[in-house]
Symmetry: C2
Subunit: 310 residues, 2 copies
Amino acid sequence: MILTVTLNSAVDQTWIVPDFRIHAIHRSRRVIRQPGGKGVNVARVLSALGINVCATGFVGGQNGRWMTKALESDGIPSDFVWIGKETRTCLTLLDLDHGTQTEVLEPGPTVSEAEWKQLVAKVATWAEQSSFVACSGSLPPGVPENAYGELIGVARSRGAAVWLDTSGKALQHGWSARPDGIKVNQEEAGHLLGKVVSSRAETIAAARALVRDIGQTVIVTAGSQGLAAVVGEETFWVTPPTVQAVNPVGSGDAFLAGWLAASHQKKSGEEALALATACAAANVLRETAGIEKQQVWALLKEVRVEKVID
Amino acid sequence: MILTVTLNSAVDQTWIVPDFRIHAIHRSRRVIRQPGGKGVNVARVLSALGINVCATGFVGGQNGRWMTKALESDGIPSDFVWIGKETRTCLTLLDLDHGTQTEVLEPGPTVSEAEWKQLVAKVATWAEQSSFVACSGSLPPGVPENAYGELIGVARSRGAAVWLDTSGKALQHGWSARPDGIKVNQEEAGHLLGKVVSSRAETIAAARALVRDIGQTVIVTAGSQGLAAVVGEETFWVTPPTVQAVNPVGSGDAFLAGWLAASHQKKSGEEALALATACAAANVLRETAGIEKQQVWALLKEVRVEKVID
C-alpha cells in the first residue's frame, strides 16, 4: 500500500464564476467542495487507479469532520491526527469563459508539539506496511522546519521509500534528508541549485545535478513543455499531450499518484513516467482535482517519453 | 421588539487578500466568518444599538448549525426554520491596499413548500409582539415569487409594520403588497418607475412618486451622494459623512437597522434618517458587516439632513 501525508490539508472549494472581475459582485453558478491539500489529491488519484492507499496528516474542527466524512463516502481510506484548531479552506475561482483560475489559500491552523508527535508516530506505524510514503505540500504553523526531514527518517527506517513534493524552506530541509525521490518545478530546482532553469537543456541538467546529491529519482517539471526525469542511470524527457485545460489545480498531485502507482506495481521508469503524465493531463480536464480512469487510458497513448542519450 | 426575516441567509466569509489579481495564486492574510444575509446584518446592528431583536429565516446543514451557534455567542437572538438543504456561503475578497471588494455569492438552497409554510407561521407568531418586521434580501429557489407579499400581509394582520429591502422580481411583487416602508437604490427605483433615476432632483422625484403608490415611507439611496426620503408629508435629502471605505458590504442593512431602531423608539423622521446614515457610515469603516456604537455617535454629528421644500 501507499501512505500519503498532508500536513496542511484543506477543504478545497471550486467556485464557478462567469466573467470574474475584480471589484464586482458575482453570482456563482455552483460551488464544488472537495477534501484537499496535495497529499489528499494524491490519495484520491491513487484510489481511482485501484491502489490500496491511506491518507494521513492533520485535520480539525468542522472542516476536518466534513473532510473525513467526504473521504469516507468517496471510498478513500484515511487516518488523520485530529488537532485543536480548524482545518483551513482554499478557494479556486474558475472563470470557464475566460479560462482563468484564481486561487486564494487560507493560512493553515497552528499544530501543537503533541499533535506533531502523534503524526510522527502514525507515519511510523503506517510506513511499516507501505511501499511508498508521499509527503506533499506546505507546512502548517507549529511543526518543526525540518518536519519532512524527520518524516523521511522515520518512514525509511520502517522500510518505506519516501517521495517529497513541496517548496521553499520545507523543500530545502527535506532535501537534506535525502528522500528517495523528489518532484520539483523549474523554479524550485533553480532555487536548490542556485541557477536559472528554463530551457529543456537546463531542465535536464538540473535533474542530473540534483540526482547526484540524493542518488535516487528526480523529476523536474517544465509546465506544458514537459519534464525531465532521472531514474537510476537513465534520463528521460517527457512531452505531455496537448489538452484544453479546465482547471490545473491538483495536476502535479495526479502526476505523483500515477508515478507511485506504476512504481508500486514494479513498472519501468518509462512506463511510470507515461502513466504519471497521463494522470496529470486527465486532471486538468476536470473542474476539480482528480481523474477519470478512461481519460487516463486515452491520454496515455499521446504521451511521448524519450530517453535522453548524451 | 423588531423581527428581521432573511429568506436567503448565508455564511459570509471575508478574505483579506493583498494584491488580489485574476489568474494568480494568493495567500490570504486571514479569513473572517460571520453569520450573514441582509436580515441577519440588520439584526446584528439592531442588537448593537440595544434594541430587542429576533432574526428569523431559513438555515440548514453544517453552515446553518455554525450560523445559529455564532449568533448565539454574539448575543443575537434567532429563531430560524431549519431546512433540509445546506445554507450557502458568500465570499468577499478584500484587497485593502487597492481598496477593492470582490463579491461572489453562492446560489441559495432550495426551500420546500412545507418549510415555506413553517416560515410564514413563524413570522405570524413573532409579528404579534413586534413593532417592525424587516424583510431583506433575495429569495431562495422554492419559495413563491410573491413571498414578500405574503409576509407583508401576514405580519401586518398581526399588527406589525413591514419594511422591505430587496430587488428585482421580489421587490416588484413585494411592492404590490404595499409595505409600510421600502429602501431602494436609484437603479431599483428606476425599474419600479420605468425611468432613469440619477441626479439629486430625479432621486427626490422618484421617492415622491413611489410614496404616492404605497402611501407610507420611501427611501431612495444614491450611494455616496446621499439619499432622498419621503416620510409622511415631509421630504428630506441626507448627505452622509465622508469616510474612507474599508468594506461597504452590509452598509445598506446597517442603514435600515438605524432607521428601525429610531422609529421603534418613536424618534422623528429627521432623527431616524440621521441615525440610519451614521450606522451605514460606521459599517463601511469595518472589514465585516456591523457597527461600533462609538463610531456611530461620532459620525452622527457629521450627517446633514435637510428638509426639501418646494
